[in-house]
Symmetry: C2
Subunit: 466 residues, 2 copies
């Protein structure tokens, strides 16, 4: 795709994901097909979280005094909060914020819920809409004013180690989640100047979009005791002492959906990983007048078998040309197309076409049919993930020269990996010189800092970000 931005807007419209014409900037309506994809992605996430978290639901509106309690936190959000000031014709006595995120809605309640060490750990999550009054250029599902899908998990622990362990668990949950969507990721520790307002540190998942810019798709924050001290979340220890608890929180948003669309999509449209496709297989009968009945009956048998195998299948028996059907279903990203014509029936087989690779295969309609289709789907899931990872890896460049960094970043080639001494000024200088954002620290290193040429400490990634 030559022009990613144009492609992206067109696919959202043509594949009927969302409607951007809603009369408020940065807010969109989910169309039925888009909603189904969103639902599958949410289900995948819920399943992972439900193993170890309880789902809850907190109010949207946060009283001003609660939002304002944590001074560093509010500084990070005060320019982007929407305020409700009136109810009916009356001015409210106190302003209410539309949640930009829910720490300040939840933690006053956590303070009531948690009494003793027996109440810990507490692990909850919710999936809600949140709001940011974005002043930057908005972009559907990427930079929006109503984030329609915000999964935020919040946990409370007795010890710092408990919180540390939870951070690691959350990293694993997100790895499993993104792997199942075939989305490659870069995991870094955000620099101090870009961590979540109020956190001790932030671990971030970024992916690489087709235009060479990175997209933050998940973050995990160790909050230490920062919020528990502000919101008075204390517990009685086994020894009868009262201590402030340790907290973490971690979130993913609509951006996950944006990344699935962008990373797997191609010139023909969407390409959905089979695990989250609302329809996994579309059957298109190849109709000639003389054999129409026979072909349709065969198609129905194939459909029945696949349904019995718990696959999501759709028989497209509309009275329009097969070519148009191919075009439409390719646009919508259906993983497998099964074509069935009279010649296939003669040989008791079907033609299977993979959406991702275009590969065509004959598959016998015998006792192993469903199992064979399932293997193709499984292989397709793996291939899509592998291909996306390889594509991304090729665009991560180890560089020890500012000019080369600039060339890579400016020309949308991808991400640079450089060595940094760890000094904040040097970090910001690097960002300034390269005209990129530091994603964060990938790991330790012993070379020379690209800015000051002193001993380096860290391997860091820099990129143009969304």
């Amino acid at each position: 795709m030559e022009n990613f931005s144009e492609w992206y807007h067109e696919i959202l419209e043509n594949a009927e994901i969302i409607d951007s014409r809603y009369p408020v900037k940065g807010m969109h309506a989910w169309l039925p097909y888009g909603f189904k994809i969103r639902k599958k992605i949410i289900e995948t996430l819920r399943k992972l979280l439900d193993e170890d978290h309880d789902e809850v639901l907190f109010p949207l509106l946060i009283p001003e005094e609660e939002l304002m309690k944590e001074s560093i936190h509010i500084k990070g959000f005060e320019d982007e909060v929407y305020w409700v000031t009136h109810g009916g014709k009356a001015k409210l006595k106190r302003k209410l914020a539309l949640r930009p995120t829910s720490e300040t809605a939840m933690y006053p309640m956590f303070s009531l819920w948690i009494r003793t060490h027996k109440d810990l750990p507490l692990k909850v999550y919710q999936i809600v809409n949140t709001f940011r009054y974005e002043t930057k250029h908005t972009r559907p599902l990427i930079r929006i004013r109503e984030i329609t899908t915000f999964k935020e998990a919040h946990t409370v622990h007795k010890t710092l180690e408990g919180a540390e362990k939870q951070v690691k668990k959350a990293i694993n949950i997100y790895k499993t989640f993104f792997d199942s969507l075939g989305i490659p990721y870069l995991i870094t520790k955000r620099p101090e100047w870009d961590k979540f307002p109020g956190a001790v540190y932030t671990i971030a998942f970024d992916t690489l979009m087709p235009d060479g810019r990175t997209l933050q798709i998940g973050t995990i924050h160790n909050l230490g005791q920062n919020f528990s001290k502000t919101f008075d979340i204390t517990f009685e220890t086994e020894e009868g002492k009262h201590e402030h608890a340790y907290q973490t929180c971690y979130g993913v948003s609509d951006r996950v959906i944006a990344s699935v669309i962008s990373i797997h999509g191609d010139e023909k449209g969407l390409c959905l990983p089979p695990k989250i496709a609302p329809i996994q297989i579309v059957i298109v009968p190849i109709i000639f007048k003389e054999t129409e009945e026979e072909v349709l009956e065969f198609c129905k048998n194939v459909e029945k078998k696949l349904k019995e195998g718990k696959l999501k299948v759709h028989l497209d028996d509309r009275d329009i040309r097969a070519g148009r059907k191919f075009y439409e279903w390719e646009m919508k990203g259906i993983p497998l197309r099964i074509e069935i014509g009279p010649k296939d029936i003669e040989k008791n087989k079907v033609v299977v076409v993979r959406r991702d690779s275009g590969e065509k295969m004959d598959v016998k309609f015998d006792d192993n049919f469903v199992e064979n289709i399932k293997s193709i789907i499984e292989k397709m899931n793996n291939d899509m993930r592998k291909r996306a990872w390889e594509k991304m890896k090729k665009k991560i460049y180890d560089v020890d020269d500012i000019k080369k960094c600039k060339d890579i970043i400016n020309n949308g080639k991808g991400v640079v990996r450089v060595i940094w001494c760890g000094n904040e000024n040097c970090g910001k200088n690097l960002e300034e010189k390269i005209k990129a954002d530091m994603l964060g620290i990938e790991g330790k290193s012993s070379g020379k800092c690209l800015n000051c040429n002193e001993d380096g400490k860290y391997k860091v990634l820099l990129a143009k970000t969304y």
Copy 2:
């Protein structure tokens, strides 16, 4: 229950449904157990709607000029709309309303979506939070400022008959829905002065709460062309003419959950219909030291069998007294309790206790075990529904005397059915004299109007309402 209001608040807290201590009046946090019940109820509803509707999701915020377009509609809501006026520190150029309902968010988009008769009928729904700045006394899940669960369906048709048919379909959907929850209902056509603002007419489902007041649990509106004319929703007919479409909308809210809690609950706590219980069966081992291992093993076998039968079962093997477990699970409304002690094992049977009736039964742990448990559950579902219906029917009184009406209404005995001539003044006089609200018209009648003694036209219901 002597004091329903007190009972209701206590059960919400003790059964861990919601937390009312959130620091904004009329807004509550869903606790994990309450959230699970809510989720099951939503799933039940989704399943019914997905057969014939597409799920969508529209933005929360509605621009002032869209909300204001339909003059009758806005009059019904203008005193209760929350307004967002500021983004960050800046005043917004135009105010944005928190949706009180979504006609004015959706219909401008419908106007873009619908071009020809081929685009019709359009049937969509969404499940979202909506907001009402209630000035009356708030009550959790019943009269709240953030309605956390609002299912609103919106349909568009070519003809008035199409819309009429949809109203009947919606009535059937709601009947099936409330039947599956065991909630009895009164179906009436709301009087003109109480119909949905902007509708041609409103059909309502009310149920009767234990204190004799009715609760509106569902409404269905035939909108005719009122909104399609305001929002310019037109389509090209088969003959090439341009016509305004016909519309309906219908909704249910958190109140459904309030009714399930109130109608089936008793002095011991919640009593959940098995169809929506997050846990359908709890197994409580009766432990004596000598036989502990044996009993626990037997319990695990029972648990395994029930799980294989796709029943939602929980084995409570906590090290606390069985009596305390009984108390807790009764409070949480788990439909069946299975008690297993050493004497039961000797006889290869278990003791099953029904939450609704307290009935105790011996059930053999043989090949028919799971089937037998399923029959008990099925019977319990039916019994609960039947019992609730009978209870309600006894509290509907045919009355032809104002004084008797007043006695029934004032003393919380239930609902009165009277004859009405159809004249609005008479209707409002009746409301005034009886000190009750007219729920609406149940059907035709030929007696004398209770107010003016002229020829009656309608059987109508009046009640004290929530």
